[in-house]
Symmetry: C2
Subunit: 318 residues, 2 copies
Amino acid sequence: MKLAIIGAGAVGSTVARLADSYGHSVVALADSKSSVIDPSGIDVSNSLEEKSTTGSFSGSNVEEAITADYECLIDTTPTTLDDVDTSFGYITTALERDRHVVLSNKGPVAQRYRELKEHEARSEGEVRFESTVGGSLPVISTIQDVGPQRVTRVRGVFNRLANFILSRMAKENLGYEHVLAEAQELGIAEVDPTFDVEGTDSGLTCAILANVLSPPDKEFTIDDVNIEGITQIPGSALKLGKEDGKTVRLIGEVGTDQIEVTPQLVSQNSPLAVTGAQTVVGLDIQNAGPLNVLSSTTTNKEIATTILTDVNRISRSK
Amino acid sequence: MKLAIIGAGAVGSTVARLADSYGHSVVALADSKSSVIDPSGIDVSNSLEEKSTTGSFSGSNVEEAITADYECLIDTTPTTLDDVDTSFGYITTALERDRHVVLSNKGPVAQRYRELKEHEARSEGEVRFESTVGGSLPVISTIQDVGPQRVTRVRGVFNRLANFILSRMAKENLGYEHVLAEAQELGIAEVDPTFDVEGTDSGLTCAILANVLSPPDKEFTIDDVNIEGITQIPGSALKLGKEDGKTVRLIGEVGTDQIEVTPQLVSQNSPLAVTGAQTVVGLDIQNAGPLNVLSSTTTNKEIATTILTDVNRISRSK
């Protein structure tokens, strides 16, 4: 397929680099203020090198990429709460032009889901967003295969930074600030980790899951999620839990009665007690007894591969 | 969809009971020597009660079920190495009639894969077999989504009885025979556990994976799998491993150079070190770094749900 990729950070540029090996060509690549477009396929290495040298792509602007002649738009712009509309605008423009869309930006699926589905319903294009929930874990596709009405609960550790901090605090008896500084040194944490440690990122994931699981007449946003982050957890609480065979994890849960993100005490033997920068998702499926658990580590390369797997799903369903 | 279900054991009868709640009707249900057929949908409860009272369904024979007017044939007959041809015959008859097929019998996909795919290629019908690998884990569908050529290795604990025995031997310092007897009392082990503990069942799973992962000109059967079971493992080996932070698991592995089932020492922190009657599967995906790990417990009800999820996949792709 011919791809237009919006966002040229770690994820977007990796998608661009890998596209060829998946049998696709990149006809447009854009960051927030510049783009490179070639209907016969851009030279990805050269374009990325130019951007890293000069700070931007050679020409035009992001709008020209959105309206270029691609088959699938890939939106890898970063998730922010302040600006969902920009990404939403890209996506709906693509759908109105009967193009497919794959996105890793959580904003539109968390905050404007029903509108998005209405645009999709009127379009020949299809929207996929596997990487917005649990990174590289096949959660959305499994829910679609099983049937959303048969998934009674989803529970998981959705944020790898929060999990890194909690599991390391417990293991080494260290304080929150100390471990956060370590995570920043290791490149796991952004300079501003608020989005992760306050539970906002996990809250967006839960809103997406609530939207996917509920009937079309209901809609959820992050405002419907009860969120408590991990910044207030004292090292002493982790120590006490440890003596009791338990550990604290930042758990996101979407059930019939509640949507919440809270630090919870879980057994050290629980499938949810993953350590380090891992994520894990458990699905309760009607008639299928206990959880199916999926766990993984998630890097930018895995997110890129997950995006390209969504493109595969679209190709196969045509 | 209209379903014909072959095999009326725990899995087949559960599929029959759940079919209605998935929006399907059962037009034929058969065991090895009798069947019940009704083009407008059989009464599942009555039919199963009749079988449990009289030992067989009211009329006709299995052949009449295979040639009945269904849209999807579900083969839940038990896997045996001696007789792959009977199940293979059911499936190819259905495909020749342009019907879909979902199977939990491992035989045809492990032992006669290429022939099966040739029959499928000539048919309007589609064959799915998710439950033959890792029970309820979405392994085959994930491989198909990612693209088989991008999965470089699959490694897992595929047999829940073998895993129950090994993890309990290690935990309680018990001998093999003792734990096997326990498993038989708990109903986890069949009276003849050979198929599980000698590695045959895991070997069939590996042959299926090798077939799914390899290009169309290659074919594998269980004869291509190096198999070593768990019956010869002394309790002392497990004890030594434990002192070293390790544990023994019966690991099935399908890589570029080898297909094997062997007891392996793994770290107690490894995702493969699941305990009890669990299964776990790890996929190495090109460009996606380390494993994605999926784990779950698997009961007959979960196998039945997995079969009905395959039916969903077929419905959605039409």
